[in-house]
Amino acid sequence: MHDADNILQHLQQRFAADPITEQQTVDEILTLWVPGERIVPMLQYLKSSISQPYAMLYDLCGVDERNRTKKSGIPAADFTVVYTLYSFARNSFLRLKVALKGEFPNINSSHQVYANANWYEREVYDMFGIVFNGHPHLQRILMPLTWSGHPLRKEHPARATEMGPFKLWEEKEVREQDALEFKPEEWGMRRQTDDADFMFLNIGPQHPGTHGVLRIILQLDGEDIVDAVPEIGFHHRGAEKMGERQSWHTYIPYTDRVDYLGGVMNNLAYLLSVEELAGIKITERAKVIRVMLCEFFRISSHLVWFGTFAQDVGQLSPVFYMFTDREKIFDIIEAVCGGRMHPNWFRIGGVAQDLPKGWDKLVREFVDYFPGKLKEYHNMVIRNSLFKARTKGIGIYSLDEAIEWGITGAGLRACGLEWDFRKKRPYSGYEMFDFDIPTAQNGDCFDRAVVRVEEMRQSLRIIEQCLKNMPSGEYKSDHPLTTPPIKKHTMQDIETLITHFLNVSWGPVIPAGEAMSCIEATKGANSYYMISDGNTSPYRARIRTPSFPHMQMVPFISKGYTVADLLSILGSVDYVLADIDR
C-alpha cells in the first residue's frame, strides 16, 4: 500500500490544480477519479515520467452509471471511462476513472500514449456511444456498422424478445452487404503507388486459416503484405451484456464460452472477483481441485494450438495425435465434471462436487503417459527444419513493443520477460506449487511455440503436485453467499427456509463494490472486473481477454511478410475468436 500512496502523492504534486479523488475498492487496487480533460497528460506522466512506470494499458472500459444506486464516495457521473494500467516494475495495477456527464459525452483519445488504446476506445464508443476526440478511426468494432444504439447502455434491450422479430428484407440485406465492403481510402490506404498496384485480399470470415470467424483485409504488393486490417465482431455474443441480466450464479456457464478452449479457467477468473466482493474464503481442497482442472485445460488448449499451428504451416498429422491426447484429458474432465469443453463446474465458494472415487488413478495414468508424447511432438514439429524455416524470424516483436500493445502470456514470455501471473500475483493457491516460467529471447513465431510447449510440461508438474498433495476437507466453503446454498443450514425454521429459497430462486445478493481478478489464462492475462450494486445480478461485468489486444497487434507484426507468413503469425498468436469478441 505504501507504493500506492506514493503514486497518489506524485500525481497530486504534479497535477496540483486538478482534483484527484481516491475510491476504496474491494480488490485494493488504487482507484483514482481524475478530471477528463487531464487524462491524456496524466497517462503520459504515469507511462514515461515516473520511476517504475505503468508501461502497459491493461484494460480500458466504460460503465453506464445512470442506474447505479449505491454511489456513496463516487463522484456524480452518467458514464465512466475506466483505464486500468499495469506496472511490471511495481507489480501493481492502477485504475484511473473519468466521470463523464451527458447523453453522449466525449473525452480525449489516448491512442498516442498507449498504442493499444485504439481498439479499446473503439469498443467503448461502440458499446456506450462515448466519443473519443482525436481518435484516428472511431468506428464500431464489435457490432455491425449498421447497428443502431449502443448495447451496453442501460436503455438498450438485452433480450431478443424486446426487439421485435428479426426480418431480413431485401433492402436490409443489400445495406448490410454494402456496409461490409472494404474501402481502402477510409483506412488511409492507397490503391497504387508509382510503381505498384496493390491488391486487396479479403481473408475470412470463412477461411481455413483464420481459426474462426475472423476477417482480415490485406493490402498486398505481389504476395508481400503492405498493411492489414483485422475485422472482428462476427463472434460477438454480448457476454458482458448478458452478465447484467443473469444472476451471479447463472452467469458462470456463460464464462465457460468466452475462451472456449479454456473451460473452467474462465469460471475461475470470474469467481475470483465475485468471491472477493462477497468476502468468501476458499477451502484448501477446493483451491487445489480448481488449480488441477485449470492446468488440465491449459494443456488441452495448448494441444489444440499446437496441432492447428502445425497444420497452418502444412503439417497435416500432428493435429490428429494431439486431439487424441486432448480426448484423454477430456475423459478425466468428464469423469470429474460430467462435461467436456464447457464443464461449468466451479461454483461461488468452491466447486460443484467433490472429486469422484478413483480420480487419482485417472490422473496418475495421464501424468505417466503424457511426457513421452510431448517428447514425440517436440521431435515431430519443433525440431522439424521446414517448421523452423517457416517460423524462425517471422512475426518478430520486441519486449517494449509487446508491452506497448498489451501482450500477455506466452507472447510476452517469448520476448524474454519472465512474467507469469501465477507466480507474480499468485491466486487460488498457486504460491504453493513448484514450477518454472519458460521464456525465450527472440519474440518470433518459433519462440512463442517453444514457450507454449514447455508450458505444457510445467502444467503437468503442477498436476502431479496436486495429485500427490490433494488436501482433505470440504470442497466448498461454508458461507451464506455460496451457490447453490448449503442444504444443512435450511429446514430449521421458516427463516432459514426462506433464505434458502431466495438464494436458490433469485441467487445470492453480492455486496455492493468493485473487484477485478487477474489470472494467467491459457492465452494470457484474463480479468473479470465486476461491479456490484448490491443486487442479485452484476451491475457491470467487464471481461478483459488476452486475445483482444493480441489480435490488435497482428497488422503491426505482419507488415513486410508474405501471405504464407501471415498464417504462421496468426497460428503463433494463439487466439480464440470468442475470446476476442466475447
Binding site: L201, E223, A310, G314, L316, L386, R390, A564, L567
Partner: protein, 319 residues
C-alpha cells in the same frame, strides 16, 4: 506387333491408369488415416473400397458450374490440360518387356516436355478463375515451375550419360547389373524432390496451400472439372513413381516374379512414399523453395553431372 496389339496396349494402359488414379483416392485416404491414428473410409463395401465409386458418382452428378466472372473457354480447357499431359507421358513408360505404347528414342526429353506443359493447367486455371486466391495460386505455380524444372532435367542427365541414350527401354536394359540408384544416388534424390514439386503434393503443394489460399488455383472448380485436377494429381503421382522406377530402380527387372508385377510393386512403393510424405512434412514458403532450388539443388546437380561425366570418361579410357 500387329496394329490390334497396339490398340490393346493403349486401351489396357488407359484403363489400368484411370482405375489406379481412382483407386488412389481410397488408398491415400486409408493410408493417411493409418498414419494419423484414424480409421479413414471403412463403411462402403469391403475395406471401404466403394468410396471410390461414391466419390466418382458424386463428382459426375454435381452441377457442371462455371462462375459467371470466369474466362469460360480457358476455364474449361485448363483441367483437361493436366490430365492430357500426364497421360501423354505414360506413352513412353516401359511397363514390361514389349508393353510400351511408343518406344521413343527421345523418351526422357518427351517426358520433360510433357511435365512442363502440365503447369499450364495451373496457370491458366488460376488466371481464368478470376479469383484473387486462384491468381495467387497460379503465380505460385509458375514460380514453383521455374524453380524445379531446371534441376529436374539436369538430374536425369547423369542417367542419360551412363546409358548413352534417351530411350527408356535402353535405360532399363542398362540397369541389368546395377540399378542407377546406386551409381546416381544424388541424381535420384534430386529427381525425387523435383518430382514431388512437379506433382504439387505436400510438402510442395504451394499453389493450392489449403491453409493459406483455401484451394489456390482450383478454388473455383467443382464437379467433374475439379475431378480432372484430382485425377491429374493422382496420375501425376503414379507417373513420377513409375518414372523413378524406370530411371533408377531397374524398371521391370527383378528375380522370380513376372516383370509387370515387379514394376507394379516398385511403383506402388513410391506411391506410398508420396502419401507418407504428405502425412509427415510441413510446407515451405514458395520463395524458400525457389531459393532452395536455385542456390542448393542446382549447384549440386551440376556437380553431380560433372562428376558423372569425369568418371564415365575415366572408365571409358581405362578400357
Amino acid at each position: 506387333m500387329t496394329v490390334m496389339q497396339h490398340v490393346w496396349i493403349v486401351l489396357g494402359v488407359l484403363f489400368v491408369l484411370l482405375n489406379i488414379a481412382a483407386g488412389l483416392i481410397w488408398l491415400e485416404r486409408r493410408m493417411l488415416a493409418l498414419w494419423q491414428d484414424r480409421l479413414g473410409p471403412n463403411r462402403a463395401g469391403p475395406f471401404g473400397l466403394f468410396i471410390v465409386l461414391a466419390d466418382t458418382l458424386k463428382l459426375f452428378f454435381k452441377e457442371d458450374w462455371i462462375p459467371p466472372f470466369a474466362d469460360k473457354k480457358i476455364f474449361v480447357i485448363a483441367p483437361a490440360i493436366v490430365v492430357a499431359s500426364v497421360l501423354m507421358t505414360f506413352v513412353i513408360i516401359p511397363f514390361a518387356p514389349h508393353i510400351v505404347v511408343a518406344d521413343l528414342n527421345v523418351g526422357i526429353l518427351f517426358f520433360l516436355a510433357m511435365s512442363s506443359l502440365g503447369v499450364y493447367s495451373i496457370v491458366l486455371g488460376g488466371w481464368a478463375s478470376n479469383n484473387k486466391y486462384s491468381l495467387l495460386g497460379a503465380l505460385r505455380g509458375a514460380s514453383q515451375m521455374i524453380s524445379y524444372e531446371v534441376f529436374m532435367g539436369l538430374s536425369l542427365m547423369g542417367v542419360v550419360m551412363l546409358t548413352g541414350s534417351f530411350n527408356l527401354g535402353d535405360i532399363v536394359a542398362a540397369q541389368h547389373k546395377v540399378w542407377y540408384v546406386f551409381t546416381q544416388p544424388l541424381g535420384f534424390v534430386i529427381f525425387l524432390i523435383a518430382g514431388i514439386a512437379e506433382t504439387h503434393r505436400l510438402p510442395f503443394d504451394i499453389p493450392e496451400a489449403e491453409s493459406e489460399l483455401v484451394a489456390g488455383f482450383h478454388a473455383e472448380y467443382s464437379g467433374m472439372k475439379f475431378g480432372m485436377f484430382f485425377i491429374g494429381e493422382y496420375l501425376g503421382v503414379t507417373m513420377i513413381s513409375a518414372m523413378t522406377v524406370v530411371l533408377f530402380f531397374g524398371g521391370w527387372s527383378g528375380p522370380f516374379l513376372p516383370p509387370l508385377l515387379w514394376f507394379t510393386i516398385k511403383t506402388f512403393a513410391f506411391i506410398m512414399l508420396f502419401i507418407l510424405l504428405r502425412a509427415s512434412l510441413p510446407r515451405p514458403r514458395y520463395d524458400q523453395l525457389m531459393e532452395y532450388g536455385w542456390k542448393v539443388l542446382l549447384p549440386l546437380v551440376l556437380i553431380n553431372l560433372m562428376a558423372t561425366g569425369a568418371i564415365a570418361l575415366w572408365l571409358r579410357g581405362s578400357h
